[in-house]
């Protein structure tokens, strides 16, 4: 016998965007976002991640947290592909203000303008902010 919640069929796929605007380690937002993304991956929705403002620092290559006694969670971004999360958008203006380029990032991303990202946000069904 199927349980009631199993009889609903495939259901509606919604567009979910996770908006990341915080640097890693200084606050818990970046790690919490990653945790929620990994949990939500089980629900087979149309998921994308946006990195803007200090959120672009989450993807900086070469993070080494041995000296501060915290877990380096940056390798997890490279594992997202395994959860079918492949849409990672990074705002070009945010990179430029910080003296960063796409080559500084630890995972393949799509760099886009603030204008294009704003449009992308507008097209979502659900936006979760961190």
């Amino acid at each position: 016998m199927a349980e009631p919640w199993e009889e609903e069929g495939p259901g509606t796929v919604k567009k979910f965007m996770y908006v990341n605007r915080k640097a890693p380690y200084g606050t818990i937002y970046a790690l919490e976002s990653l945790e929620v993304v990994l949990i939500a991956a089980a629900f087979e929705q149309d998921v994308s991640l946006a990195f803007l403002d200090d959120g672009v620092y989450e993807l900086k290559k070469g993070q080494d947290t041995a000296g501060i006694g915290m877990k380096n969670f940056s390798p997890t971004y490279r594992a997202l592909e395994g959860y079918d999360i492949e849409k990672l958008y990074v705002e070009a203006e945010s990179l430029a203000e910080r003296g960063l380029t796409e080559a500084d990032l630890l995972v393949p991303v799509e760099v886009m303008s603030r204008e294009a990202l704003a449009k992308m946000m507008d097209e979502q069904d659900v936006i979760l902010s961190f």
Binding site: A23, G26, D54, Y57, D64, N72, E97, R98, G99
Partner: protein, 102 residues
């Protein structure tokens, strides 16, 4: 002896460093820690503000916080000294007070 100021917020997210620089008296030291270390990196939109402050203040940045964030000492603005935790202690000891800008 003078004041040691510590700043632990990103200059892109808060005005802690800006306010610190505006209030810190000439001759005092400024130590960038935690997310404050992003201000020490060359090529950012805040480099000018940081460089200008170096005319009146000695600037330091905490190495372990740089490395955690994927930044190397080579990317630090010339004239800012990279210190370890022992250096942080020395700075605290060698100044008569510490003021934190959060």
């Amino acid at each position: 002896m003078s004041m040691l100021h510590t700043v632990n917020k990103s200059p892109f997210e808060r005005n802690a460093l800006d306010s610190c620089i505006k209030h810190a008296l000439p001759g005092s030291a400024i130590l960038l820690i935690e997310d404050g270390v992003y201000a020490a990196i060359k090529g950012t939109a805040h480099e000018g503000m940081v460089r200008d402050s170096m005319a009146n203040h000695s600037l330091y940045v905490l190495g372990p916080d740089l490395l955690a964030r994927g930044m190397s000492p080579e990317q630090v603005i010339d004239g800012i000294s990279v210190v370890d935790y022992g250096g942080f202690v020395d700075l605290a000891v060698n100044h008569d007070k510490v003021q934190s800008w959060l």
